[in-house]
Amino acid sequence: MNAKTEAAFTLSRQHEVVNALRAVLPAHSILFNEEDTRPYECDGLSAYRQLPMVVVLPENEAQIVDILKICLRLSVQVVPRGAGTGLSGGAMPIADGVVLSTARLNKIVKLDPYARTAVVQPGVRNLAISEAAQAHGLYYAPDPSSQIACSIGGNVAENSGGVHCLKYGLTVHNVLRVRVVTIEGDIIELGNAALDASGLDLLAVFIGSEGMLGVATEITVKLVPKPQQARVIMASFDDVVKGGNAVANVIAAGIIPAGLEMMDKTSSRMVEPFVKAGYDIDAEAILLCESDGTAEEVEEEIQHMTEVLNASGATAIAVSKDEAERMKFWSGRKNAFPAAGRISPDYYCMDGTIPRKHLAKVLLGIAEMEKTYGLRCANVFHAGDGNLHPLILFDANQPGEFDRAEKFGAAILELCVEVGGTITGEHGVGIEKINSMCVQYSEQERDAFFAVKRAFDVAFLLNPDKAIPTLVRCAEYGKMHVKRGELKFSDLPRF
């Protein structure tokens, strides 16, 4: 699957576009030789690749305006790209299109500790914001696991989450304003420095729109006070259903943990030899339940959580004594992906979200699918908010295995939709899950999405053919799969 993709554009078209771009960009901001454009052929989902015709690396907003105007004039499709860490192929290039990287817009424009906001350019790394705010006792709350590398522009495009979003929210809850250049070259402000803005909530639509509505050039994020202390409970269960029930019981007790994560036995056995986090490898499920706040608050909450977990049938409980131990307990969960890469030549990470009450049913379904597709699957789970990350383990060098892994993944997503969930909680649809959108949304709903896109991108040039499938694509996919109307549990509210 890692074979080089071929160039698929004519040289005359490339010359035309490059020449037009040269009028507005310095030479070092335009890449078009294969050795320069090759690194941009995929994002974090490397199974999907396409060599782009041109890559541009603008250094300021005015250049982005010029680039988009040229692309509109020449009818060139544009794929905006952040740090390229995305997991759904959202930044996969278009063969005869331009990749617009925001990597060089990487300045923190203003950090205002009094107002608890930071104004940043899209190429600033997620973690860099928290690092800059640290001296003031503040941080930027959403913490996707790629936070060391991923950029805030990409976070806005994907509405990224993280392990603490049950309590602190997603990107959409932590961004106040985005300055955007439209395909027509207009600069628009969505949101503002206040808590709300006049008119329709275009900011909410822009966040999570996968680079299909405009290019963000400046983002104002909220900063929040750093909790004085955090401690985590590691609880073992001899049954995944008991683990799932324990999660429900914690919530029912009126507790919103700062983090609430679950791993199945396959996952803990996968990570333990790698990180030595002290996980109970005989447990069917391990739960990590974190409390943060003042020392008194944490003490009170940890005690309450411990009682609930014990009453829910935990077979073992350990509470982190200090920061080092807390990091150790988390290390296994945070390293689940690299650990998968260690025990398996390839892995495929899914991202469905389900109402938690259906956890047992979904895990059982996945276990059945392991047999059907002849592949193993390790499950890590943002249990607090129902976001499941099954890691399908496969070897792309074995003929047919990638194909089986893809089918396995699509089957998991269909199961998620069937129980009233969604095909993606935080990774985005991109190119990867575009077929599964046919399962989750009706033709009218997909048309409405297209209409939203056209409302911003009249020329339909920004990252087209991602996220929202056409009728033709769904018809093709529908030949092989059941459509929503024919699903089981048709009485469930499904939206």
Partner: protein
Amino acid sequence: MENVLQIFKERIASATASKSPLRIKGNGTKDWYGQSLQGEVLDTTAYSGIIAYDPTELVVTARAGTSLREIGKALSEKNQMLAFEPPRFDGLATIGGIVASGLSGPRRQAVGTVRDFVLGAVLMDGKADVMHFGGQVMKNVAGYDVSRLLTGSMGTLGLILEVSIKVLPRPVAQQSLQFAMTQEQALHQLNVWGGQPLPLSASCWHNGLLAIRLSGAQAAVDAAIKKMGGDALPEPEKFWDRLREQEHAFFDGVLQDKEQGLWRLSVPSVAPVLNLQGEQCIEWGGAQRWLKTTASAAEIRAVAEQVGGHATLFKGGDKSVGVFHPLQPAVERIHRNLKNAFDPAGIFNPGRMFTNF
């Protein structure tokens, strides 16, 4: 309920065919809000009832016409709440109306606004097609976030039929304090506290008195009281309830004087004291400034814009100045495109948000 939906469908289809406006209405508790009321009433109250509520999933799904009284009752039985504290207006306000108007109450400063809690919505558009957006799960990035787009849309994009809202547990402990302070002192203090890990869940400055509410774990509330000082706020529950319902003394007599308008200025919390004629009441840590004034819209909007915010003529006054803050031309174009997409015949609440929209 199917027959109610069928009636909605027929009325919308016929309204679209004849291009005759419909005015979506629940219990009419917010008829005074927005630019103007036009069209034949489309009553949502027949489409009512909680569809699903599972406290351990932290989600309630209800039909648009469900009253906040009914929802509040179901949630409080499980010790949960609509955390953004929408005004209930005697419990008659409907969940559809709250989502459409996007109004939030005192706790908004700590937990977010209606749109932060909307997880999904079912919409009947101008073609009378029923569409589901978002869902019942907290994390969902499949497709554009249309359910949040509908929040605060004043019913201009279509008939919201059902909504799923995230709910939260009620805080274990709650205490309120008051401090004698000038507006300037209060604004400064609120911003300083805002940068500290304190369980602040509401604030209100009016007439030389700053009231704050602390909510959270008992230990956190106790520790905060020790740190912050101040005096106990008398009858705290009544105080915050009255503020939430816009029955606080500040709101008295808003509609008595025809010249006077009640404005809502949404500004950065750190914006200085706004130099505008009239009486002010400040919430949300300084980010929401209520103003009763006879000052001109142009002056008020200029001041709001200067500090990076916007101003809404919330109640009363002369609505011909435009209730909502005017939009940037390119943003207005996007609004129009969206309106045409969801409501091509322009039948849903025309003029309720902006004239000619």
